[in-house]
Symmetry: C2
Subunit: 302 residues, 2 copies
């Protein structure tokens, strides 16, 4: 038994187009409808045959859906939901893939006061954007976090859970507030820091951009990958999850200041202790299948 028979994907970028491809692969009998506010993206989705049907309006995309999945930047969720509110079938479940959850849940609830809403966040992605960047296996072995609020129908939650499991993901449930704190440290702060250091490096007078690029294999290039992520998506994430991001940033700054002091005073033991401790986390991530065991992320060295 498939959890849903008619799935509508609103927003056909990296995540939306990956969901479409994964549904095609894992649930080929599902009737798949797509929509994107951008006509160029719709045309590309038509050409790639990502869905059975690409609708020109969000309303037309949802009329017979039993799952509507919003895959737009978190700052656009409320407006996107409002666009199809009048056309949403009464028994449809609405979900999303946004990287922050408390704000998105509130925006969806405001736009769709009577809908069954099960907010979700598949923790997966690449630095690329757009309908051509997606691929069916993006969610394999990754975690998808559901953040239903009190009063959500457990059957609706179970169907969304089954949907993500069918796409190859593991599913976990937590409150929106806890999600936003966890992701602030595992995703938002890393992106913020990566964007910052890439900006810092490109603004120096003593070192040219061409030197930064040439010698980036010393570590810098790792940061440039996530700093190449979609600007609109990430602007929205930082604005939507402001409090948790600022709290984590404060912790990070304090720790960085402590390390700065250790370097200034030549406290090699403090540096060595931290550098030894951090190795263990990498090991656990690999053991739990959340990253490549091959050195250097398995980059080719030929």
């Amino acid at each position: 038994m498939l959890p849903f028979a008619r799935v509508s994907v609103i927003g056909l970028g990296l995540i939306g187009s990956s969901v479409a491809r994964a549904v095609r692969q894992h649930m080929p009998t599902v009737r798949l409808t797509g929509h994107d506010a951008d006509p160029t993206v719709r045309a590309t989705a038509e050409r790639l045959q990502l869905c059975d049907d690409i609708a020109d309006t969000a309303g037309a995309a949802v009329t017979d859906a039993d799952l509507v999945l919003l895959c737009v930047p978190v700052g656009a969720m409320g407006a996107a939901a409002a666009e199809f509110a009048a056309d949403l079938p009464a028994d449809a479940i609405v979900s999303d893939v946004g990287s922050s959850k408390a704000g998105v849940a509130a925006a969806l609830r405001a736009a769709l006061p009577d809908a069954q809403i099960v907010p979700a966040h598949p923790v997966a992605g690449t630095e690329n954007s757009g309908p051509e960047a997606g691929f069916a296996s993006l969610f394999h072995g990754r975690w998808c976090i559901l953040t239903p609020v009190e009063g959500t129908n457990p059957a609706a939650v179970a169907r969304v859970e089954a949907f993500w499991q069918a796409l190859g993901a593991n599913v976990e449930t937590m409150t929106p507030e806890h999600h936003d704190l966890v992701l602030a440290v595992t995703s938002h702060l890393p992106h913020l820091i990566a964007y910052t250091i890439v900006g810092t490096a490109s603004d120096l007078e003593q070192v040219t951009c061409s030197e930064v690029i040439k010698y980036s294999a010393g570590g810098f290039r790792d940061f440039t990958r996530i700093a190449a992520s979609d600007p609109t998506m990430w602007r929205d994430v930082f604005l939507a999850n402001k409090d948790a991001v600022l709290e984590m940033l404060q912790r990070f700054s304090e720790d960085l200041t402590a390390l700065q002091r250790a370097i200034r005073w030549g406290d090699g033991d403090a540096l060595f202790d931290l550098f030894t401790r951090t190795r263990a986390i990498r090991r656990s991530i690999i053991e739990q299948g959340q990253d490549e065991a091959r050195p250097d992320f398995g980059r080719s060295h030929e």
Copy 2:
């Protein structure tokens, strides 16, 4: 014509053992001698047959060398050089692979006042350590920076340059001081930040370590790779290149504070502008062959 006929590698960790393997592959007629201060590493090197000969002392390793290559942590360079000073042939060239150059050059000069010294830094590596982690293609397409000082024999510099080119590297020359500034931003600061954020994440009360690991695919896991690098090597780098690292860290902190303020005040345009600018650097790094073009570093998604 090979640049050297008898090469001695002192220190058989990731870099030293990769040099040995690369020499074997690209210059099979070179007579290769190795030494490591750690008897366990020497035994492993024997078992792996990394060299024609593994010497029990640094002195015995260099007696007939025409190139001695120091591949030990930068804080150990001076002591390692002093160990073989009495046995060094008068016409041998001494070089190294250290990640900071001004301090290493001074330490080598003090230990070997009359030697031909051509300090070098191949900008390449992985997060793994030890003789088993090395591989022959590590330097392919990477840059190796030479930092000869005034008075160095140009023929000696040319031979070291030819050596690294034979191992597949591109070679560039600059002053030790400029090297230390460039690498502070392209390598040392990224490592420092990665070590810090991994430490911050593992110290939180509200978010457990197990959650950090589970949801690390949101970006955090990228940082854990370089934060798994060798603790001794990196402690030494930060102590040896203190001034340049502190200067770059100051710049980074200022930029991070500006971004923090933009988030607090909801200045989405400032965020969007930075996030758009940083994409271009990633593109240049890929165009210049300094990183994978495949998304997500080419990580497997199956």
